[in-house]
Structure formats: structure tokens, C-alpha cells
């Protein structure tokens, strides 16, 4: 009985902490302005759409990975999957939830675009270092 109560409460808290943690990762990158180059490549001008996420992630995978970003990229990937699940289930019946998931998916796409920007500049730095060597 006790273990059951602990399990239910812990699972609910886990979900809540996970969403808040992912939103804190996204919020940290949302203030960053994308360069004209990344805007061109991703097609994101000011506000990103959730449909951009997959494409931006594919572009992201073409660039060399930064080890320190792996954790956050994976967390946002998992968060995006959770949002997709909510969008195809609960959000179908709750209109406010649908708007919320759409906005969150868009922010995930923006996060991925910022990560792409960082990876591009990282690749450039690596190339410059190799050229110097």
C-alpha cells in the first residue's frame, strides 16, 4: 500500500520535474538570436514551428557533436516525443492543451536551431585550429 502510494506520487513528480527541467533548458536558449545563416538554413525567421524540429535535428546530426550539449539535446528530444504523445492523445479533446503543445513544440525547434548555431561555430573553430596547426 505504502509502496504503491510512493510510486504514484513519484511518477507524477517525475513528469512534472522533467517538464520543468526541459523548459528551463529551452528558456535559457530562447533569448539567443539566431544568425542570418542559421535562419536561412533552418527556415526559422522569428518564431519556430513544431514541424521544423525534425528537420533541424537532421541538420544538427550533420555537424560534429559537442559533448557538453549531448545531455540537453537528448532531454529535449525526449520532451518533444512526450509533447507529440500528448498532442495525439489528450490534446485532441482539450483545445487549450493543443495550443500549449504547439507552442512548446515550436520552442523545442528553436532550441534545436540554437544548438545548430553552436555546433556550426564549434565546427568552424575546429577547422580554424586545424588550419593553424
Amino acid at each position: 500500500m505504502m509502496a504503491g502510494v510512493i510510486f504514484v506520487f513519484s511518477a507524477a513528480a517525475l513528469l512534472q520535474f522533467f517538464i520543468s527541467y526541459c523548459r528551463s533548458l529551452i528558456a535559457a536558449s530562447s533569448k539567443q538570436v539566431l544568425s542570418a545563416e542559421v535562419k536561412d538554413v533552418t527556415g526559422i525567421q522569428r518564431i519556430a514551428s513544431g514541424d521544423d524540429f525534425k528537420r533541424v535535428m537532421q541538420l544538427l546530426q550533420l555537424c560534429p557533436e559537442r559533448r557538453e550539449d549531448r545531455n540537453s539535446d537528448q532531454a529535449i528530444g525526449a520532451y518533444f516525443s512526450l509533447l507529440n504523445f500528448l498532442r495525439s492523445t489528450v490534446a485532441r479533446f482539450v483545445p487549450s492543451m493543443r495550443a500549449w503543445t504547439e507552442s512548446e513544440r515550436g520552442q523545442c525547434a528553436y532550441f534545436a536551431a540554437v544548438a545548430l548555431e553552436r555546433r556550426i561555430s564549434f565546427s568552424r573553430d575546429m577547422l580554424a585550429q586545424q588550419m593553424d596547426a
Binding site: 505504502m2 510512493i6 510510486f7 513528480a13 520535474f17 520543468s20 528558456a27 535559457a28
Partner: protein, 242 residues
């Protein structure tokens, strides 16, 4: 006996724990977040000691079993101290840290006593006596771990609620607390699930080590990537809009 996968996760976890301390030193935050860093150092030492005991006595030896669960219990208490450190940072401007610490200490003692009472009661029913043998002590450690993780989760949840209420804006502190909440909830759920169903014993050796990497990974990220002066609007992070 652990295989290559378990050893890899084990090694990775130890490496991540050390990297939290290194990132913190590199960013000049070691003293500021002393309790978190001391916990990470202790966790990495425990991992190395577990490895040594495993090789000396073997995986199925009682020595390894005892050391594993007791060190886990002690580390959980260490994590309480780290959590109290986080409470101190949040409440430092209000000057209420001493009351918070006292409250947490009482709660910790209460949880340990409660776990002991539950195990003692159930074991006396099963065996008809109250001698503290190895089975009772093993059960106590499992029960206490589940309860301690749960109380840790509740305390982190309360802290997160207070941070939202107080409109805490320090991004790094927010990420440290949220990562701790994630860690406590994964472990509390895992231990509760283990107590509920023994059929999960097969996947148990995989869940715990992988989950154990979450906290050092998130903390290392917070120390390395988030500057101390970074700020965030906390209301944006709440699942339920405020």
C-alpha cells in the same frame, strides 16, 4: 556478476561525478556550492570503494551487498545535506536557513525511525522475534532507502514550490534543484516498484546505475554551461501556469 555494460555505466557515472567537481572548480563555484560538491566527491569515492570490494569479495558476497546498500543509505543522507545547502541558497536572504536545517534534521530522523519501526514490526510478525539479523537489516536498508528517497522528493518538491512562489530567477540554482527533483523521483519510484514487484529484479541492475548518471550529468551541465549570473523567469517553467 556485472558485465561490460554495467562496468561502462559504472565508470561513466564515476567520471561524471568527478567532472561535476572539476566543472565547479573551473567555473569558480566550488565553495559556493560546497555541499553539492562534497556529495559528488563522496559519491565518486564510494563508487571506487564498491569496485574494490566487488573485486575482493565477489558480486554475491554479503560484504558487497552490505557495502552497496549501506553506502547507498549514507549517500542518500549526504544528498539530504546537499538539498539543505540548496534550501540555504534559496532562503539566505530571508535568514531562515537555521530553521530549515533543524526541520530537515528532524524529518530525517523521523523517517529513519519510521522505516525501522515498519521493518521491526513486519519481521517480528514473520519470525516471531525481534533479533536484528542480516535479513531484517537488509530489509531495513531497502525500506529506509525507499522512504528516504521519497522524503527527499517531497522536500525538493516543496523547495521548487517555494522557488516559484519567491520568484527565484537564478537559472543555475533552478536547474540544480530540478535535476535533484528528477533524481529523487526516479529513485523513489524505482525502489517503490521494487518493493511492489519482485519480478522486476531482472531489470533492477540496469535502472539504478543509468538513473544514477542523471544527476551528475545535469549538475555538470549546469555548472559548465550556465553562468552564475544567468537569470530566468520562473513562472515560465511551471507546468501549471501561474
Amino acid at each position: 556478476m556485472p558485465g561490460p555494460f554495467e562496468y561502462s555505466v559504472w565508470f561513466l557515472c564515476t567520471l561524471l561525478e568527478v567532472s561535476v567537481v572539476l566543472c565547479s572548480i573551473a567555473k569558480g563555484s566550488f565553495r559556493r556550492y560546497l555541499s553539492l560538491n562534497v556529495y559528488m566527491l563522496a559519491a565518486s569515492f564510494v563508487n571506487i570503494a564498491r569496485f574494490k570490494i566487488l573485486f575482493t569479495y565477489g558480486f554475491r558476497s554479503p560484504e558487497y551487498g552490505y557495502f552497496y546498500y549501506y553506502s547507498d543509505l549514507l549517500l542518500t543522507i549526504g544528498l539530504y545535506c546537499a538539498l539543505m545547502g540548496l534550501y540555504s541558497y534559496v532562503f539566505e536572504e530571508m535568514g531562515a536557513e537555521q530553521y530549515v536545517r533543524l526541520g530537515a534534521l528532524l524529518l530525517l530522523l523521523g523517517t529513519a525511525g519510521f522505516s525501522f519501526a515498519i521493518v521491526q514490526q513486519s519481521s517480528s510478525r514473520i519470525m516471531g522475534h525481534l533479533i536484528l539479523d542480516s535479513r531484517v537489516m537488509g530489509h531495513l536498508v531497502l525500506e529506509a532507502s525507499q522512504n528516504l528517497y521519497f522524503v527527499g522528493l517531497v522536500l525538493t518538491y516543496v523547495l521548487w514550490g517555494a522557488m516559484l512562489k519567491l520568484r527565484e530567477t537564478r537559472t543555475r540554482l533552478i536547474q540544480l534543484v530540478l535535476a535533484l527533483g528528477l533524481y529523487f523521483s526516479v529513485f523513489a519510484a524505482s525502489y517503490a516498484l521494487r518493493n511492489l514487484s519482485t519480478s522486476l529484479n531482472g531489470i533492477w541492475p540496469y535502472i539504478i546505475p543509468i538513473s544514477g548518471c542523471l544527476l551528475p550529468l545535469a549538475w555538470a551541465y549546469a555548472f559548465w554551461r550556465i553562468p552564475e549570473d544567468a537569470r530566468i523567469v520562473p513562472a515560465r517553467l511551471a507546468v501549471v501556469p501561474r
